[in-house]
Point group: C2
Chain length 198, copies 2
C-alpha cells in the first residue's frame, strides 16, 4: 500500500500515467526488436557456417568466398551487439545523452554493416547463379545447387535482420533527438510562425 | 527601416536571435550537404558510364557487369533526389510533420541504396582483381587494368556520397524527432526522475 502511494506521488511530480506506460511499452518493444535480430543472426550464421558441398566437380565451402566470410563475421558482430544492447535496453534506468548517442551511432553502424553483408553476398550468389560471360565467370550454382540455396537462405535472413535494424534506427533516433528542442524556424508547436530573412 | 522593425518584433514573439541564426546556418549546411553528393554522384556516374576497355583480350563495358549497372542507376537516382531535396531544403518555409517524415524516410532509403551500390561494386572489383580459384572466376583486372582502376575511382566517390548521406540522415533525424517530446521515463531535462516499475 505504501509502495502504491509512493508511485502515485511520483506520477504527480513527473507527468501523466499514459506517458509512463507508453515509455514502458516502447522499452519492451525495443528489447524484443533487439532480441529478434540476435536470434536471426545466429540462424544465418549457422546456415552459412555449415554451408559446404562436395560432388564430382569438387568441394565448395563458404570460406572459399570472401563475401560469405564477411557475412559470417558481420552476423557474429551483429548477434553480439544485439544481445548486449537488448540487455542495456531492458534495464530501466535513466537514458543519459551519451547513452542515447551510443545507441544511435552503433545502431546506424550495425545497420550499414549488415546491409553491406547482405548486399555483397546477394551479388556473389547472383553471379554464381547467372555467371558473367564477358568476364568468363562460370555459373557455379549449376554444379553446386545445394550450396547456393543454403547461401540464399542465409542471405534472406540477413535482410530480415537489416529490416529489424532499420526499425531500431528509428527508435534510437527518436530516443536521442526527442531530447533536443526543435530548431526555432522549424517549430511546429503552437501558433504558426512567419520568418523574415535578410 | 520598416522591414527591420518588423523583423525585430517577430523575434520578440518567437524567441532569441541565436536560435534563428543557428537554424539558418543549419539550413545552409544542409543545402550544401545535399548539393555535394549531387555533384559527386554525377562524377561517379560519368566515370562509370565512360568505363570501357578494348584490347587483345576483347572488349569490356561497364554494362557487362550487373553491379556496375546498378551503381549507375543508384547514382542517377541519388543525383536527382539530391537536387530536388537541396531545392526543398533551401526554401525557408515551415517544416511540417509530413515534410520532416518525408525527408527522414527518403534520406534513410537513399543511404541504403547508395551504400548497397558501393558495397556490391566493391565486391565485384575485388573479385575482378583477386579472382576466386575454387569457383574458377578469373582475375579479369589482369587483362583490363584501366577498366578496373576507373571502376574503383567511381566506387570510391560513391562511398564519399554514402558518408554525406549518413550526415544528412543525422540532420533529418534531428529535424524530425526534435519535434516530438522525450518519453517521460527517459527525459533528461531538469531534476533527476526516479521511476517505479510494478
Amino acid at each position: 500500500m505504501d509502495g502504491k502511494r509512493m508511485r502515485d506521488n511520483s506520477q504527480i511530480e513527473k507527468g501523466p500515467t499514459e506517458d509512463e506506460r507508453g515509455s514502458s511499452t516502447m522499452r519492451t518493444a525495443e528489447t524484443l526488436l533487439r532480441i529478434l535480430p540476435m536470434a536471426l543472426c545466429v540462424v544465418a550464421l549457422v546456415i552459412m557456417l555449415k554451408d559446404s558441398q562436395t560432388n564430382e566437380f569438387g568441394s565448395l565451402y563458404y570460406s572459399d568466398i570472401g563475401a560469405f566470410r564477411y557475412l559470417v563475421h558481420a552476423s557474429g558482430i551483429c548477434a553480439g551487439y544485439s544481445l548486449l544492447s537488448a540487455i542495456a535496453a531492458a534495464i530501466p534506468k535513466q537514458l543519459t545523452m551519451s547513452r542515447a548517442w551510443t545507441f544511435f551511432v552503433l545502431d546506424q553502424l550495425l545497420t550499414y554493416i549488415i546491409l553491406a553483408a547482405g548486399a555483397i553476398s546477394t551479388e556473389v550468389v547472383y553471379l554464381a547463379y547467372k555467371g558473367d560471360a564477358t568476364i568468363t565467370w562460370s555459373q557455379t550454382c549449376g554444379s553446386f545447387g545445394g550450396f547456393c540455396r543454403r547461401a540464399t537462405a542465409s542471405i534472406a535472413i540477413t535482410f530480415i535482420v537489416t529490416l529489424c535494424y532499420a526499425g531500431l534506427t528509428l527508435i534510437s533516433s527518436y530516443r536521442l533527438f526527442s531530447k533536443y528542442d526543435a530548431p526555432v524556424a522549424y517549430t511546429n508547436r503552437g501558433v504558426e510562425i512567419t520568418t523574415f530573412h535578410s
